[in-house]
């Protein structure tokens, strides 16, 4: 023991093994030593914008990157996640056509659960237009095939109409209430009381304040007593259903069907989505289109003022 003590003392006084003093080390950050003054901020900025700066490319890319919300506002611009169903030339051409259509018709941001009013050209009507109002229960399709389904209860009859977003006979798409629901599809409204799908045709549009996030309606829909169009008790992914009491025999089989491991399946999630790099490439075109449209509208506004 005595030998250990002497050896420790030797280590402490030795100059070949410096002892790390954290306090002294970090003090130098705040108070630079003589000859090591702080670099002025204008030098740093000059270096940042300098073409010789290696990190400059990344910052430029970030400056022109589309907002992350674009994947939710324009979901039809994203291609099919299955690589076997992809055709990049067709996708590029479709995106071009979609943006050209969006120059003519304002296709608004909406989600499943939003209430929309759609005006369609109809040659058999004296006014040549017919309007349908309903709650969006489903949104599907990629590119020009993008579609959405509206549901309403009219005169005691449930009606659903599927519309193609880029159909040229669509004259106006108006969002009467912008909101989301707990699920990505609301097919269970078919087995719910009619009041949950009834929307009056003369409903006034509700606007949200600028910059507000899209509200989520946390409503849980009670279902009619079975039989149903689908076995809703099997769909554990649907959060917006208030399941009634079901016979024990029906619930007994659920334990054999349920897949609790699916939510942890990372590869499934990977296969379902498009990579962020590819999304940025796609939405760059949308950003360019938007800036062009804004410029054009600004020029038109100036012309109207003069």
């Amino acid at each position: 023991m005595a030998s250990l003590k002497t050896s420790c003392r030797v280590l402490q006084t030795s100059r070949h093994l410096p002892v790390f003093n954290p306090r002294a080390f970090y003090r130098s950050y705040d108070r630079p030593q003589k000859g090591h003054e702080k670099v002025p901020s204008w030098t740093i900025e000059k270096h940042r914008d300098s073409p010789l700066n290696a990190t400059r490319v990344e910052s430029e890319r970030l400056r022109h990157a589309a907002p992350t919300e674009f994947r939710y506002i324009f979901p039809e611009f994203l291609p099919h996640p299955d690589w076997k169903k992809r055709d990049r030339v067709a996708e590029k051409l479709q995106r071009r056509d979609m943006l050209r259509r969006r120059l003519v018709l304002d296709i608004p941001e909406f989600y499943v659960g939003s209430i929309l009013g759609v005006t369609v050209a109809d040659q058999h009507v004296p006014s040549k237009q017919s309007r349908f109002v309903g709650i969006c229960i489903h949104r599907d399709g990629h590119g020009l095939r993008a579609n959405f389904t509206l549901r309403n209860h009219i005169d005691g009859q449930g009606v659903e109409i599927k519309y193609d977003l880029y159909n040229p006979t669509l004259q106006n798409i108006e969002v009467l209430k912008l909101e989301k629901r707990l699920d990505e599809e609301l097919f269970y409204l078919r087995d719910a009381p009619a009041t949950h799908s009834t929307i009056t045709f003369d409903r006034k549009p509700e606007t949200l304040p600028l910059g507000a996030t899209v509200p989520v309606n946390m409503k849980k829909i009670p279902l009619n007593p079975p039989p149903w169009t689908q076995r809703w008790e099997k769909r554990e992914d649907l959060k917006g259903i208030d399941l009634p009491e079901l016979p024990e025999k029906r619930m007994r089989k659920l334990s054999q069907i349920v897949k609790p491991w699916e939510k942890y399946d990372l590869m499934k999630e990977y296969r379902k989505n498009i990579s962020e790099e590819e999304q940025n490439e796609i939405f760059k075109e949308v950003v360019q289109h938007h800036t062009r449209v804004e410029k054009k509208r600004h020029q038109e506004r100036l012309k109207r003022m003069t």
Binding site: H124, F132, D155, V159, I161, S255
Partner: protein
């Protein structure tokens, strides 16, 4: 079930494995909701025959479809059996999945007509698809409709 079989069955249930060893399996398609022979339909005009069919508990059934496919869609003429009679009708609404822009209804609706294609009722209170306006032979039915969708 023997004790061993009971044990293995309970283990299978705990592990979430298939426990149906002695049953036959067959594949089924998604419900197509097609209107064919013997399909039950809902009469939507205010005719007496239609009202009696609803209240009697024996709904109108399609007995013949007047087209080559055997599947009735919106605007097709069908022969119905209701109240022990054979009556013709026009399909005015389908539960079947439709093309874009064509409405899909929650029930299969039919309007009763006679041999001269005149509707038997005087009013239809249910919305009628606007695509039927293309067909000139349905003009009398469209005249008694209250609402188009």
């Amino acid at each position: 079930m023997s004790a061993a079989a009971r044990y293995f069955h309970s283990r299978a249930v705990t592990l979430g494995l298939c426990t149906r060893n002695n049953t036959r399996h067959f594949s089924t398609s998604l419900p197509l909701c097609e209107l064919r022979h013997m399909s039950r339909v809902n009469v939507v005009d205010n005719s007496d025959l239609g009202k009696n069919a609803k209240t009697s508990g024996k709904p109108a059934r399609i007995v013949h479809v007047y087209n080559k496919q055997g599947v009735a869609g919106i605007g097709d003429k069908v022969l119905l059996a209701l109240e022990k009679q054979k009556v013709k009708g026009i399909i005015v609404g389908c539960k079947q999945k439709q093309k874009p822009m064509v409405p899909k209804f929650d029930s299969n609706n039919v309007v009763l007509i006679d041999e001269e294609d005149t509707p038997m009722g005087s009013r239809i209170n249910v919305p009628i698809p606007s695509v039927l306006r293309k067909k000139e032979e349905l003009a009398k039915i469209l005249a008694i409709s209250s609402r188009f969708v």
